[in-house]
C-alpha cells in the first residue's frame, strides 16, 4: 500500500490518506497507524501531566506507559506513542470520524512525538515574506491564524498555521512547511476569505472552518530561513507596536510555546534547552501587539514588513 509522506517526516498507514500531502523526506520519522474505534477506559498508567489550553481549559492527558506514552483526548481519541516516538497508534472513540483523528494527529500529537525525537516544534503560525519566514507565536485565540491568513490572502504565502517546525543546520535556522490548511473562526473567515473557498470537511469538536490552499489562500511548500519570531500581545492597545525583546524574555516565551512530550526525559530536555537557547540568542525575537480589529490588518502587515526590512 502506498504511504504518502509529509514534508515534516511522517507516513500514514491507511489506504485513503488525507489529501495535499507532499513527498519530501524519504525516511519517515513518525509512523501513524489507525486502529479500530474503541471505548476509552481508565488507563493503568501514571499521569505524566494534564494538558490545558488558555484559561486552564482541559484538553488532554499524557500518561507514561510501560512502552511509551498514552495521549488521551477525552471522548475523541487515544494515541499510543512508542517510547522512541517513532510510531503513533491511534484509537478513535466510537463515532469519531477520521477527519478529527487526522487533525488531532497532525496538530497535536505529531508535534509532541517529534519533540521526543529531538525536533523543535512550537505553537505558532508562519508566513513567507520576501523569501524568508516570519513566525507568529502566542497562545490560542491571540490571532496567529488570522495573521497568517491575512498575509496569505494579500500576496504573500503561509508556511504553517499551527505547528512551527524549526530546524538548524549549517548555521541556518529554517521553518518547514506545515499542513496546507488554515483554520479560522467565522469572523476572520468573513473578513478575509471570499466565498466560495476550498474547505476541508468540518471537525466535530471545533466550529472553526478549515481552508485549503487555492486561488485565495497561497501556500509556501518549501522550507524558508527564519528571520523573525513575533510574540503576540493581548491586543489591549490602540496602535501597532513592535519591540525587540531581551534574549532571556525570548527564551521564556519560546519555552512556553514549545511542544515537549516528556519533560522528565533528561536527554530530550537537554536537547530542547539547547535548541531554545540557540533560538533565543538570535536577534530575531520581537513582541508584536495591535488592536484586534480587522480593519487594522493592513497596517499590521505593513509594520511586520517594515520590521523585517530593518534586519541587518
Amino acid at each position: 500500500m502506498p504511504c504518502p509522506r509529509h514534508s515534516q517526516g511522517f507516513s500514514f498507514n491507511r489506504s485513503s490518506a488525507p489529501t495535499a500531502l507532499k513527498s519530501a523526506d524519504p525516511t519517515p520519522h513518525v509512523q501513524f497507524r489507525l486502529g479500530e474505534a474503541r471505548r476509552q477506559v481508565a488507563p493503568r498508567a501514571p499521569l505524566l501531566r494534564d494538558w490545558t489550553l488558555a484559561g486552564n481549559m482541559p484538553w488532554a492527558q499524557i500518561y507514561r506507559t510501560h512502552d511509551g506514552y498514552l495521549l488521551r483526548f477525552a471522548d475523541l481519541a487515544d494515541f499510543e506513542i512508542s517510547c522512541d516516538a517513532g510510531v503513533v497508534q491511534s484509537w478513535p472513540a466510537p463515532g469519531v470520524p477520521f477527519v478529527d483523528i487526522e487533525h488531532l494527529f497532525l496538530n497535536q500529537v505529531l508535534p509532541l512525538a517529534l519533540s521526543k525525537r529531538g525536533r523543535l516544534v512550537f505553537h505558532a503560525s508562519a508566513v513567507e515574506i520576501d523569501g524568508v519566514a516570519v513566525a507568529f507565536m502566542a497562545e490560542s485565540g491571540r490571532g496567529k491564524s488570522t495573521l497568517a491568513a491575512s498575509f496569505a490572502t494579500s500576496g504573500s504565502r503561509f508556511l504553517t498555521d499551527n505547528g512551527l517546525f524549526v530546524e538548524t543546520a549549517h548555521g541556518e535556522t529554517t521553518v518547514l512547511p506545515g499542513h496546507p490548511s488554515i483554520r479560522l473562526w467565522a469572523d476572520s473567515e468573513g473578513a478575509l476569505v471570499q466565498a466560495p473557498a476550498r474547505k476541508a470537511p468540518p471537525l466535530g469538536f471545533s466550529s472553526k472552518s478549515r481552508f485549503l490552499t487555492g486561488d485565495q489562500i497561497a501556500y509556501c511548500d518549501t522550507p524558508r530561513r527564519l528571520e523573525r519570531i513575533l510574540f503576540l500581545g493581548a491586543g489591549e492597545i490602540n496602535a501597532v507596536t513592535i519591540e525587540e525583546v531581551p534574549r532571556a524574555v525570548a527564551f521564556v516565551e519560546l519555552a512556553r510555546h514549545s511542544f515537549l512530550l516528556d519533560a522528565k526525559a533528561p536527554e530530550v530536555l537537554a536537547s530542547h534547552f539547547d535548541g531554545i537557547s540557540r533560538l533565543a540568542r538570535l536577534p530575531i525575537c520581537f513582541r508584536l501587539d495591535f488592536p484586534r480589529r480587522f480593519e487594522e490588518l493592513p497596517a499590521v502587515r505593513e509594520a511586520i514588513v517594515a520590521c523585517l526590512a530593518s534586519r541587518s
Partner: protein
C-alpha cells in the same frame, strides 16, 4: 545545564526539569562562583564593580547562593 543569554543566564535543572533565570547581577555572581571563588572572594570582586555597600553585596550574594543550594544547583564545599 547553563546558557548565557545576553547579560542574563538560564539554568536548567535536569533532575527536576525546572528552568531558573538569573538577572545580570545574578549572572555575575554565578560566573564568579563557577570560577571557583569562595563567597568572600565573590563579594570582594562584586565590590569592585558595583557602588553599593559591602553589607548589601554580602546579603545579595548569600541570598542567591542559598537559593541555588536549596534547589540543588550548587553544592557548598
Amino acid at each position: 545545564m547553563v546558557r548565557q543569554l545576553g547579560e542574563e543566564t538560564v539554568i536548567l535543572d535536569l533532575a527536576s526539569g525546572t528552568y531558573f533565570g538569573l538577572d545580570p547581577v545574578g549572572t555575575s555572581i554565578w560566573q564568579l562562583m563557577e570560577s571557583g571563588k569562595t563567597l568572600r572572594e565573590v563579594c570582594d570582586s562584586m565590590m569592585k564593580d558595583y557602588e553599593v555597600s559591602r553589607e548589601d553585596i554580602e546579603r545579595d550574594v548569600l541570598t542567591l547562593a542559598t537559593n541555588l543550594r536549596e534547589r540543588g544547583l550548587i553544592e557548598t564545599a
